[in-house]
């Protein structure tokens, strides 16, 4: 079954690039440009993996992560933080919050692809 990837980022350029990348690799992709949209999408989309920015307006990526982990249907989704927050403590916090991977922007497409493939192959 084709894996489903949810891309959450408020930067349109990044959303376009990531969508293109994921679709090229054969995944079904949905996007959201805010934390609220992302949480609303969980019910209808139920992603296998979420590429999640942290610094979103209003509801940030940490809150979305916590909401995913508490969601009855989506709680087992893999979460990859894709963020400009590059401090070690941000990474520690992100992984402690329940993320499966943490990639700092600007990212290499190959790194994102490898991480997605690795996490979805488990």
């Amino acid at each position: 079954m084709t894996a489903k990837v949810l891309v959450v980022d408020d930067e349109p350029g990044i959303v376009v690039a990531l969508r293109f990348l994921m679709e090229q690799d054969g995944y079904v992709v949905a996007t959201a440009d805010s934390g609220e949209q992302a949480m609303a999408a969980l019910d209808r989309f139920i992603p296998d993996l979420i590429l999640l920015d942290i610094m979103l307006p209003n509801i940030d990526g940490f809150q979305v992560c916590q909401a995913v982990r508490a969601h009855r249907s989506a709680q087992s989704a893999r979460i990859v933080f894709l963020t400009a927050m590059d401090r070690q403590i941000d990474m520690d916090k992100g992984l402690a919050m329940g993320a499966d991977a943490y990639i700092v922007k600007p990212f290499a497409n190959a790194e994102v692809l490898d991480t997605v493939r690795r996490l979805l192959s488990r």
């Binding site: 940030d60 401090r87 941000d90 520690d92 916090k93 402690a96 919050m97 700092v104 922007k105 600007p106």
Partner: protein, 718 residues
Amino acid sequence: MSLNRLFRWMAAGLLLLCLGILAGLAAVLRQGIDPAQAEVISSILHNHVWHFIATALALTLLVLIAIEAIWHYLINPVGQLIEETTLIQKANSSHRIRIGGNPDMQRLAGAINTLAESCQQSRDQVDDRICQAKAETEGEKNILAAIVAELPEGILICNAEGRILLYNPLAVTLLTGNPGQGGGEDRYIGLGRSVFGVIERHCIAYAIDTVSRQLENNSRDVVVPFAVQGGNGKLIRVEAVPVLDHHRRFSGLILLLNDISKDLEKDLDQNRRQRHQTRLLRDALAGIRAAIEAILAYPAMTDDQRRHFYRIIHEQVIKLGQTAAADSVADQHHWLARWPRLPMRFADLALTLTQWSREKLGVGLSPAGSITVDAWVQVENYSMLMTLVYLLKCLQEETGLSQFNYGFEGKTPLGTFDLVWPGPPVPVETLRRWADQALVVGEQQLELTPGQILAFHGSEFWSGGLADRSGHAFLRVLLPTATASPEGEVIRSPAILPQSRPEFYDFDLFNQPGQVPEVELRQLTELSYTVFDTETTGLDPQNDEIISIGAFRIVNLRLLRDEVFDQLVDPRRTVPASSTRFHGITSDMLIGKPPIETVLGRFHQFAVDTVLVGHNVAFDMRMLQMKEKASGSVFINPVLDTLLLSAVIHPAHGDHNMEALARLLGIRVVGRHTALGDALVTGEIFLKMIPLLAQKGITTLRQALAASRKTYYARLKY
């Protein structure tokens, strides 16, 4: 004319008179007798000439013995009485007269002693009352002195002539590089010393000129900043604030000193980084822009060319990403370095947190699970403790619990402090609300939010469920960890109020008259002195060497025990055992010490603009002179010798050695036959001598030098 001299003249006169009378009698008799009688007398004289000579000698001896006895029993005791009564009055009120002589003189001495005893008791009572009255004022002065000593800025105050009136230990460290003994190798700060010894004259002149112009223009801002090179190559920012008298005339400068070396280095470093970053940014953007514009402008370019431009864009973007990552780390370090943090044992932090939680919140805190026992954290103690207590308060309100466990793992660079409780974790949005709220615990409030305080520490906090899924949750706060002894931190000891008047300020010096070209015309009470002593390998200036120099300064009649010169010297030969028995210095103790050429240069600087004082100082000065050529240090200071001065003050006393003088003047001898110990005793002796010299009409340096030259001991040469 003194009594002794008068007696001598009278005795000589009397003797001559007797001889004159005898000669006259002989002449008269000779004229009144006839030749036959003269013949008989001549024959008698000739036959008994030796009897007559012996009788004459015996009579002369008897007369001299009588004169000596009169002098010893009547005249000398009077002179002694005068000297010792003056000593009691001027220098040593506990001294009591013990003289020989006739019983009446001894009874007079006894009466004077009784009077002295009674005067001393009265004086002691008055002194006690004065002391009590002054205690409060002194206490305030001492608090001021302690505050000045502990200021985080160096402070130095000088009068209009540049003489130092006040300084604190930090000023010494900043300007000389040596926190102890008032100075570094060739720079000294001390009361009465010239500020030009540590700050370039033209800088002070510039400050004075600028201040004068600002005052003339009635400017409100009269602070003049400038920078100078301090000790150990530091760059020191100096702010000069003028001191005006009540006529608004310039009377001195307050110099505030700060070490800006580190800050300057950091700012320069950041500036360099920013310029580098801007250059990289511009280069990368230029490359990207050129490539994109080429692609857009030439849609017909070949695929290879297009791919080449794409590669260029890709490479430049990667470079930008690397630059951004590096700058982010550097900025963090730069920013965190400014937040005041000190190392603290985690155990102490936990203890205080437990106490505060109990007292302020009624919340119990117990250690549980893994705790790194000997860990150190580096935090701003008060704000971090308040933050942790505040988070406990929030947890208490959120969970309804009053008992929490805690654990700590001292990982580097951030340790993990966990508060644990049974229940679900705290939602992220709740944590964010806590982070942004005002930090209020009971009646205590901080201006910063918990989020800001944690950010200033480079810290974070979050909540989650425990991995063992026991139904427990945690609130984790990251705490920066530290080693126990950080490098470069300034150790701040407690400020101890001095018992006696501290020696780093003397505002009396403000009003001292200016330097007179002729130092010899100045009053002894106004001059500054360097009291010194040397220890040597022997007593031969030609062949022996100096092995120790000890010195103190006297300024404004105060012996400054904090401004000390105490240096052992490598004589470049062995120290004879006979010499070691005297002063205790062995050859081993001198290994690695600087040679005399170096030490003399430093001593020369220490003693600049002072009168040199020593006991039997002719020997010490000869030793110094023998090394003038080799060291390049020529001591042209005026020199006073307490041995000679004692002979001036107490000519009747036979013993002018240091111990006898100290006993006479009521001074305790400590460290005898050490250079520093002897210098100290000499200094105290000298201070007692000044009023005694004044009693003899000797008040200026010239008078003291002239009187010294006339004593017998001045004939001693080395």
